[in-house]
């Protein structure tokens, strides 16, 4: 192999750089960190099952957006048979009022900034 | 062939560096605009399109004008355009890239631009504009590149190039017609509501585009030692001549219709443009300047002695370019909005960030033209004879 020394050194460096996130987590003990959520409500039921909401709440919100804005339909028949008003600020935030202790926890952990809050109002934005 | 852009004189690198600097300045200004919103421009509730769309309109014309050298060369075998045609095609590519950039910087939510494709609206001319501009970009890029590649390899170009080039001819007309339709279908804006807008756009395009091409050919001759041929330039100058005359004629025809029929709603916009009623008067001064430039350019162009004067022609082309940039840019956009639908007079002044972003986009266009032309010239020179 030509330039064997340089190539092997390069490969080793590359692998180390690739593993930096995992090395960082294990050295700082952050690996075991899982965001802690406070739902902010004593309600036991959401508009969808917990497992479904965990993975697909953004898809549900997308469906809600289409239904409410483009079709003008504002009611949603949930899995538990109850009817909810389609509204991020009205229904979701009604229970999860402390967005910083619920929504933001996972979003910050995953490094996501959903743009919903640019328009949709939550407690901190309300100004009387 | 791209490797040809990597070797050049110091002057070349300084020019590229300068253009790149303009692009960076424009880009940083754009980041500020993304953060603050379009409010940092001079546009407002009443004048909601300004410098960006003005330049967009002008540059679509430059892009479409490639047809003025492609058509004679490919359909009528005008051999004098042999070395010019490919330069025209690459100028068109750079111009289309600039038009797309101007649209993007004008959007309030640019990250959503693909909504146009996800939710197509065939009644909207902006949808069709996206379609035809993308098509034209690809057409010219592929045709130009593979034609050049064929010259480089000293072979005949691939068989599919010719049909695509032929398609690009009506397509060029279509891009500028669609652009005109963006404006001339709006019942809300009487200044633009004229069937003559599309022909006016085409006439001014065929005046300004070839004028720019002539200037670039002189640049290529001076800085890269590549002569496209005196005959070719003279023929292009002839095209500019006819187009500028027709452009002036169309303007006069518009003035007659508007002022003879004396409909206040229609006259108001032209009066604002030429008299600057209630405004700062800067726009009307520019418009008169544009008109004077146009008339002077025409006088110089129609006389063969002046048109064939190689020291004078670049200046004449510059006059045509500036004149049409004013007339078709802000001279088209602003009077469209003033007087407002509620008959108010408001003024528009582009802000510094707005100008910097504009300059940045022109820098990008200049960069593309420089790089493309360098490749073309090197290939042509190395394969000449």
């Amino acid at each position: 192999m030509y330039d064997r020394g340089k190539i092997i050194t390069g490969i080793i460096l590359f692998v180390i750089v690739l593993l930096i996130p995992f090395l960082y987590n294990s050295f700082t003990g952050r690996a075991a960190y899982v965001p802690e959520l406070t739902t902010g409500t004593s309600e036991k039921e959401c508009v969808g099952p917990k497992a479904f909401m965990r993975t697909d709440h953004m898809k549900l919100l997308d469906v809600w957006k289409e239904t409410a804005v483009r079709q003008g339909v504002r009611t949603y028949r949930a899995h538990n048979g109850k009817t909810y008003t389609i509204s991020l600020s009205g229904t979701c935030i009604e229970c999860h009022a402390q967005k910083e202790q619920f929504c933001d926890r996972c979003h910050d952990y995953a490094g996501i900034t959903p743009k919903c809050w640019n328009c949709h109002v939550y407690e901190k934005v309300v100004r009387k | 062939m791209i490797e040809k852009t990597l070797h050049g004189t110091q002057r070349y690198w300084m020019w590229v560096g300068f253009l790149f600097l303009l692009v960076v300045i424009g880009f940083v200004s754009y980041l500020v605009q993304l953060r603050e919103g379009l409010g940092i421009t001079g546009m407002g509730r009443d004048i909601s399109w300004g410098l960006y769309i003005a330049n967009f309109t002008f540059l679509v014309g430059i892009a479409a004008s490639a047809v003025m050298v492609v058509l004679p060369y490919y359909l009528h075998n005008v051999k004098q355009f042999g070395k010019i045609t490919i330069l025209g095609e690459f100028l068109a590519v750079a111009a289309v890239v600039m038009t797309v950039l101007f649209i993007i910087v004008d959007l309030g939510q640019p990250s959503r631009v693909f909504n146009i494709l996800l939710h197509p609206s065939p009644t909207s001319l902006l949808f069709w504009d996206m379609v035809v501009l993308s098509g034209y970009l690809l057409l010219n890029l592929f045709c130009g590149w593979y034609t050049l590649d064929a010259i480089d390899k000293e072979e005949a170009p691939p068989r599919w190039v010719k049909p695509l080039i032929l398609i690009s001819i009506p397509w060029a007309i279509s891009i500028h017609t669609v652009t005109a339709f963006i404006f001339c279908g709006l019942s809300a804006r009487p200044f633009w509501l004229t069937a003559l807008l599309a022909p006016r756009f085409l006439a001014s395009a065929f005046a300004s585009g070839p004028a720019l091409l002539i200037l670039l050919c002189y640049g290529v001759q001076r800085f890269m030692n590549f002569d496209v041929g005196k005959d070719g330039i003279r023929k292009v100058a002839l095209i500019v001549t006819y187009a500028t005359v027709i452009n002036l004629f169309f303007l006069l025809v518009e003035l007659f219709t508007v002022f003879y029929s004396s409909i206040p709603d229609h006259m108001g916009h032209f009066i604002y443009l030429f008299k600057g009623t209630g405004g700062t008067g800067i726009l009307s001064a520019c418009m008169w300047f544009s008109l004077i430039l146009l008339v002077c350019a025409i006088i110089l162009l129609v006389r063969p002695e002046t048109r064939h004067n190689e020291r004078l022609l670049p200046w004449i082309c510059g006059m045509v370019l500036v004149s049409i940039w004013i007339e078709k840019g802000l001279g088209l956009l602003i009077p469209g909005f003033i007087p407002t639908p509620l008959h108010e007079i408001v003024s528009y002044v582009p802000t510094v960030p707005e100008v910097l972003i504009t300059v940045g986009i022109y820098g990008m266009g200049g960069l593309l033209v420089t790089l493309f032309f360098k490749i073309v010239v090197h290939v042509q020179i190395s394969k000449a004879g």
Binding site: K65, V69, R70, G72, S89, G90, I93, K115, N118, C119, H120, V121, Y122, V125, V126, R127, K128 | E36, G37, L38, G39, M43, G44, R45, D46, S48, W49, I103, D106, L107, G108, Q109, P110, R112, V113, N115, I116, L118, H119, S121, P122, T123, S124, L125, L126, F127, I182, G185, L186, S187, A188, R189, G336, F337, T340, P341, L342, H343, E344, V346
Partner: protein, 255 residues
């Protein structure tokens, strides 16, 4: 038959058959059809009436404007270039100049008239939107989808009434009171009066109509024979803004 002949005939047939669907894509009457579709499905056709005999009697009255601004979290921006307004007052002379106003009282040209989106039957703004972020509902309301708007401002250019506002910057700092019941908007999208469709969904009249204690604004379903709007429009003379443009506005002004 030779292959060439077959191809010629096939192309001509295809071209001929696609003429009607292609022209359908472009014809504006399609927008007016939406309302007849809605009527057939039993949906209301909303109409607003402004009684100019009542409106403007109170000096400098802005009750309707303030109600709209409050209910919809509309920002108050002093720089007139960046203003956002859904309903506002303008002089009669600016609004109805094309129609003229005869030789009535001298004060009429200066008379303040509330203006808003007309929710046209034939909205030019809907035709030009490249993403269908604005569309006409079957009940006649011209809606805005702030999620989809790309902020190209083509609709602003197309509106003959200047009814649309663009968010030139983030509106939130400029909103005096932010209410939870309605979202704010973000920079880079266009907005306009929505006939309070979120209130209509709860069987409430638009905020401006409710706010006018003198009854200067009347709102209702023009289909219904016993509606106030139907009755008043058949008894009193009314005009609309720029009728010659064929937009068929649904905001009527009683003289």
């Amino acid at each position: 038959m030779k292959r060439r002949d077959f191809l010629k005939i096939a192309t001509l047939t295809l071209a001929g058959v696609s003429v009607k669907p292609l022209t359908n894509l472009f014809t504006k009457p399609a927008l007016a059809d939406i309302s007849s579709q809605g009527t057939q499905r039993g949906l209301p056709q909303w109409v607003m009436v402004v009684d100019l005999d009542i409106c403007g009697k109170k000096d400098e009255c802005t009750d309707c404007i303030e109600a709209c601004n409050r209910v919809h979290n509309i920002p108050l921006i002093k720089d007139s270039r960046h203003e956002v307004k859904w309903i506002w007052n303008a002089p009669f002379d600016s609004i109805f100049r094309e129609q003229g106003f005869g030789r009535v009282h001298e004060e009429w040209p200066k008379k303040s008239v509330p203006v808003l989106c007309n929710h046209c039957e034939n909205p030019p703004c809907v035709a030009v939107c490249p993403t269908k972020a604005t569309w006409k509902r079957e009940d006649g309301i011209v809606m805005m989808d702030y999620h989809r708007c790309i902020g190209c401002r083509y609709c602003v250019a197309a509106c003959p009434y200047g009814a649309r506002s663009f968010n030139w910057k983030d509106p939130r700092p400029y909103i005096k009171e932010i209410h939870r019941d309605f979202p704010t908007r973000t920079k880079g999208v266009v907005e306009k009066c929505n006939f309070c469709e979120e209130r209509l969904a709860r069987n409430l009249v638009p905020a401006c109509v409710e706010a006018c204690k003198e009854g200067g604004l009347i709102f209702g379903d023009i289909r219904k024979e016993d509606s106030m709007v139907r009755k008043i429009l058949s008894t009193r003379l009314s005009i609309r803004r720029k009728p010659h443009l064929g937009t068929e506005p649904k905001v009527y002004y009683l003289l």
